[in-house]
């Protein structure tokens, strides 16, 4: 469960990145955040990752009240969410296996767990034959699938994807969205921030549209409208 209640985010210069934003996302939903650059999509994501703290309202996710969450408990919260970025952010000197295993190592998983679970996860992402490849040997789609595998490594209940198809061609983009859809069907809440019109229109999922820091539309089975 994710709940934004009257959330305002003001940066020091006085510019409001978010202005009284409210919405609720139930467990297992698939939601697109759409809007032009600077509309506030990234701010929503950064608030959810607890990279930023809202200046007003309340943000709640997975039972954590993020405005009041003390620094030392942030890692605990972050282990319940998975994040995928536009630029993949893989470690260039680690193989596919090591990149995914890394996420489990960080939270203290045993070697046995890593050896048994990481290949299964990679197989699921269609990377079964690329376990020993380095990121520079992979296509964009494969790199992003590795990043998704890493985000899922610790079984998060929410998967957040910030422009996951931003660096990919249309075919690969569709392939990634298929994977995200599959993950969603297995019960994970999936949030995707994007301005990829085709993808939003083809998937027919809930759409929350932002413009100048405000929610201008929140629609079940919506599309990407030209008002943005």
């Amino acid at each position: 469960m994710i709940r934004f209640d009257g959330v305002t985010m003001e940066f020091s210069e006085g510019a409001k990145a978010l202005d009284d934003v409210s919405f609720t996302i139930k467990p297992g939903e698939f939601v697109f955040f759409v809007g032009a650059s600077g509309a506030g999509k990234s701010t929503v994501i950064r608030l959810l990752m607890r990279e930023l703290r809202a200046t007003g309202g309340s943000v709640e996710a997975n039972g954590y009240k993020l405005l009041r969450l003390p620094h030392r408990r942030v890692p605990q919260y972050r282990r319940t969410i998975g994040v995928v970025f536009q630029d993949f952010r893989l470690l260039p000197k680690k193989t596919v296996f090591e990149n995914v295993a890394f996420a489990k190592e960080v939270v203290g998983a045993s070697l046995h767990e890593i050896k048994s679970q990481v290949p299964v996860l990679c197989n699921m992402m269609g990377l079964g034959d690329k376990l020993n490849a380095y990121p520079h040997q992979l296509s964009g789609g494969e790199q992003q699938r590795t990043a998704v595998a890493r985000a899922l490594a610790n079984n998060p209940s929410i998967l957040i994807a910030d422009e996951p198809t931003g660096n990919l061609d249309p075919d690969t983009s569709r392939e990634i969205m298929k994977i995200l859809n599959m993950i969603n069907r297995r019960g994970t809440t999936v949030l995707v921030a994007t301005h990829d019109k085709d993808i939003v229109n083809s998937m027919c999922k809930r759409v929350i549209a932002l413009k100048q820091g405000q929610v201008i539309r929140d629609q079940e089975k919506g599309g990407y409208c030209d008002e943005l």
């Binding site: 890692p75 203290g108 610790n154």
Partner: protein, 302 residues
């Protein structure tokens, strides 16, 4: 937590040390300079203290009696002085005793004094006073000088004061110098570790997003500081002990001879070695870890 989790900070820290070769070297060199300086100041303080202590334990007032005083008069005077305030013990040293003890001190060269005997003994009789505390010395000296029986009075208080003043100067100057070196060293180590942090910024960022705790992210860098400190401590320990051993051997040449020169003997090597074996690693590793900890604190916020 698996075994690997405990080993990780140490193995990654070690890798960082080698990855920033030049900066690590600079850190270790400055650490060595700092610790050697610390060791030097420490050696000087240790030795001046030991010297002052040795001197103080020998703190005696010597009153040379006038030559026309008879042995009986001398003994009676000695008895009187022993009852003064602050006098712990008085020994009467007759002219004959003085001659004997000089002979003994000269050892093999004692034959030089042959021919001197009771009749022509040039040495005066004297009283050797042990004083309860140094504070009594000025008063007792004044009283002795005032009596008719005494010719001259000598005492080591001046020298003790002088030694103590020098030792204090050395200590204070050393503390200031060490403080400066401590700051310089910690800045250099901080920078070395900061370069490590920058080199692995992407990795750290991802770790934070995945939910790594601060201590998980920080521990390899603190371990890196620990290694730099330990390396510095080992090198300075070797160099410091070597230098001190050399000094001790140089000063030992004179220690066989007269009592006065024995006062200047250095504190033995093993005493210095034990102290620095604790001091160097504690200061080196402590400083290394602390400066890493502080330099990562600012850079790890995501």
């Amino acid at each position: 937590m698996s075994f690997k989790q405990y080993v990780r900070p140490f193995s990654e820290g070690l890798r960082n040390v080698f990855r920033n070769g030049v900066m690590s070297l600079a850190s270790v060199i400055s650490m060595v300079c700092m610790l050697l300086m610390l060791g030097m100041v420490f050696a000087v303080v240790l030795n001046t203290n030991a010297f002052a202590q040795r001197f103080e334990s020998e703190l005696d007032v010597r009153a040379f009696l006038k030559d026309d005083l008879s042995a009986e008069e001398g003994a009676a005077f000695s008895q009187a002085v022993s009852e003064w305030d602050g006098v712990a013990e008085v020994t009467y040293i007759s002219k004959q005793d003085a001659l004997h003890s000089w002979e003994e001190e000269l050892g093999d060269d004692g034959s030089l004094l042959e021919g001197y005997e009771e009749g022509n003994n040039p040495l005066p009789a004297s009283l050797s006073l042990r004083v309860q505390t140094p504070a009594y010395v000025p008063n007792i000296v004044a009283m002795l000088t005032d009596t008719d029986a005494v010719d001259t009075v000598t005492y080591s208080q001046d020298v003790v004061n002088w030694v103590q003043r020098i030792s204090e100067w050395v200590r204070n100057g050393g503390v200031i110098l060490i403080a400066i070196l401590l700051i310089v060293t910690s800045i250099i180590i901080s920078n070395t570790v900061r370069i490590s942090v920058y080199a692995r910024k992407g990795e750290i960022n991802i770790m934070k997003y995945i939910g790594a705790t601060n201590s998980y992210v920080r521990s390899p860098f603190v371990a890196e500081g620990f290694y730099l400190g330990l390396l510095g401590a080992l090198v300075s320990y070797g160099a410091g002990i070597g230098a001190y051993a050399y000094l001790v051997s140089r000063f030992d040449v004179v220690s066989g001879s007269a009592r006065m020169l024995r006062l200047f003997q250095l504190v033995p090597l093993d005493e210095f070695a034990v102290f620095t074996a604790i001091l160097f690693p504690v200061v080196g590793c402590g400083l290394g870890m602390l400066s890493s900890f502080l330099s990562t604190r600012r850079h790890l916020k995501v």
